[in-house]
């Protein structure tokens, strides 16, 4: 027992982690205590009546004030599906696909400039000759600019990007695709740069020592070694793109989101719920496809 106690006493401890744990706990507790979540009437007769009305309106329209019938509900849902939901679901999927392809291209293009091991005057190995100060500064600035750009791209939420871009382009489909592509290019670029930095060094250093340049190492070694990992990340992000593509439609006239917003504005909560369920089904299908592809990629790399 004393040996166990000794082990416990000498375990590695970090003051930063300890402070972080306290900070996280305090932040959550203070938020619940002082966030004003229970101010005013959390539950009132008016709220209860509102909720009851809402739940009643979730029933398919032909079945409101009528006994439940699966047949009638199915017919109503099929009519909605053929009328507009099928097309909207397809458009939602297409937005997510177009966005992730663009995000992948953008992320792959930016990642090398953000990787600290490559975007420097002496990649991988220290240069045998002293590097001129100007060249060092230029590379440092390039690297910093790439990292800063990626941080800005990914820190602004997709929804805000879409909102801003819709102001520029008007209500077309490009703002939605671009919003998803920009945010995810920021994330994929960061992850791609991390992957490139964390590759096993000896092979790359050997290439460098043999005289290979930055572009040669990048194309011949980094790209093939990092591509599998990058594809895994890409499909992870595609899953969130499918989720977001539904929501972004609430801002414009494409994807399921626009029908959700339309039904919401007209207080047709049954139609709103059905459109949401189509989105949920698409998300689940997308997750399954993505999991399958990721497993395939993982096995072969």
């Amino acid at each position: 027992m004393s040996a166990v106690r000794e082990l416990r006493r000498t375990r590695p401890r970090s003051a930063f982690l300890r402070a972080s744990a306290w900070a996280a706990g305090l932040l959550a507790t203070a938020s619940w205590l002082f966030g004003g979540f229970f101010q005013g009437e959390v539950w009132s007769a008016r709220r209860a009546a509102n909720l009851e009305r809402f739940l009643g309106e979730l029933r398919p329209y032909p079945l409101q004030d009528a006994p439940w019938s699966w047949r009638a509900a199915g017919e109503w849902a099929a009519a909605q599906w053929h009328d507009h939901l099928a097309h909207a679901t397809l458009a939602t999927l297409a937005i997510s696909v177009a966005a992730i392809v663009l995000a992948g291209l953008g992320g792959a293009a930016l990642a090398p400039w953000a990787a600290r091991s490559f975007a420097r005057p002496d990649p991988l190995l220290p240069s045998p000759r002293p590097v001129p100060r100007v060249r060092r500064a230029v590379w440092l600035a390039l690297n910093g600019a790439a990292r800063g750009l990626l941080a800005v791209l990914r820190s602004i939420p997709e929804y805000v990007w879409a909102f801003l871009l819709l102001g520029l382009y008007g209500p077309t489909v490009w703002p939605l695709v671009l919003a998803l592509a920009l945010h995810n290019a920021g994330i994929l670029g960061k992850l791609g740069a991390d992957t490139a930095e964390n590759l096993e060094r000896p092979a790359l250093e050997a290439l460098r020592a043999a005289g290979a340049g930055r572009a040669q190492i990048g194309l011949a070694a980094v790209l093939p070694l990092a591509a599998g990992r990058f594809l895994l990340y890409l499909f992870y992000r595609w899953e969130t793109c499918v989720r977001e593509a539904t929501v972004l439609g609430m801002l414009a006239l494409v994807s399921l989101g626009s029908w959700i917003q339309d039904a919401r504005a007209r207080n047709l909560y049954d139609e709103m719920l059905l459109a949401m369920l189509c989105g949920a089904a698409l998300v689940i299908a997308g997750d399954l496809v993505s999991a399958g592809v990721r497993e395939w990629v993982r096995r072969s790399t």
């Binding site: 959550a28 938020s31 820190s155 102001g167 070694l225 998300v283």
Partner: protein, 302 residues
């Protein structure tokens, strides 16, 4: 250059093969085809990407204010007791953090419950306990509970937090509690999925040693499997907090008093300087939490 066999590995799963073999080539080709299909479905016209002169003017005006965010109101006439832009931004930032921080404990709790249930480690532990069949009931109950937890988690996260918010808005009106629950439900589902994967993929060394020493399946799970997965789980929960910040900010577009609320209002009034004040506030928040979670992650990965 002829690399020695198995000189390096990409993911610790066998030697990296040279050349474009394996799944990467076909997957890239599929992606390209899917992209073309999407462009065709959406009638995407690359020429429309180049905005017209009027849009260029607007873009210039908007991005021109990027480095000169408004420090005072751009509106000319305001009621005398209107708080300054910085006060509004600070208050909205605090609300954003409060919403995100309040949503995390319930979603972590939900994620732990569903994640433990969904993981296979607690009911397939017989491999570690030397094939003893004392707890045979786990083999019957395990798959059922696991599948049920997976289903509930998938259902929760298949609906976006903003759509949960729309549902709760319609049901309860604009209350802060609705915003927090709307964040907590899908985040709980996401955390459940990732926690389950992390528990199942955690190194089994400690679990094996405990089982060798005669520990029961529950002991193996709580003291062998779980502690090995914990650092990854903490790091991921912190990353989700960063996501929750962004989501909480966007909830403002639906009437909650977070950063998105003021951002949308200023943008619609064409007060681009104010928009940038709120955008920079959001950026600062997200980058701070990003730095914090990165620092924690580095120290957890011993």
């Amino acid at each position: 250059m002829a690399a020695p066999e198995a000189a390096w590995t990409v993911r610790g799963r066998g030697p990296a093969r040279g050349g474009p073999r394996g799944a990467r080539g076909p997957v890239l080709l599929l992606l390209a085809l899917a992209g073309l299909w999407a462009a065709w479905v959406l009638r995407l016209d690359p020429r429309a990407l180049w905005p017209d002169a009027q849009a260029w003017g607007l873009a210039g005006e908007f991005f021109g204010r990027a480095f000169t965010p408004a420090l005072s109101h751009q509106a000319s006439s305001l009621p005398p007791d209107t708080p300054s832009i910085l006060t509004i931004a600070l208050r909205a930032a605090v609300t954003t953090v409060v919403f995100a921080a309040a949503a995390m404990p319930p979603s972590i709790l939900l994620g732990l419950l569903l994640g433990f249930g969904a993981s296979t480690a607690w009911w397939t532990g017989d491999r570690e306990s030397g094939g003893r069949r004392r707890f045979a009931w786990r083999r019957v109950l395990g798959p059922v509970v696991s599948a049920a937890c997976r289903f509930v988690g998938a259902a929760l996260r298949s609906v976006h937090e903003l759509l949960w918010a729309v549902l709760f808005l319609a049901a309860f009106g604009v209350t802060p509690l609705a915003a927090v629950v709307a964040l907590a439900l899908p985040y709980g589902g996401t955390l459940a999925k990732v926690f389950a994967e992390m528990i199942d993929e955690a190194p089994r060394d400690a679990a094996g040693a405990l089982a060798e020493a005669g520990a029961g399946p529950w002991q193996v799970f709580w003291w062998g499997r779980l502690p090995r997965a914990l650092p990854d789980m903490i790091a991921y929960a912190l990353y989700r907090f960063e996501c929750a910040l962004r989501s909480a900010a966007v909830l403002g577009f639906f009437g909650f008093p977070t950063l998105g609320y003021h951002l949308a209002a200023s943008f619609e009034n064409l007060y681009y300087g104010e928009v940038w004040s709120y955008l920079w506030t959001l950026l600062l928040l997200v980058v701070t939490v990003d730095w914090w979670s990165g620092a924690v992650r580095r120290r957890l990965a011993v």
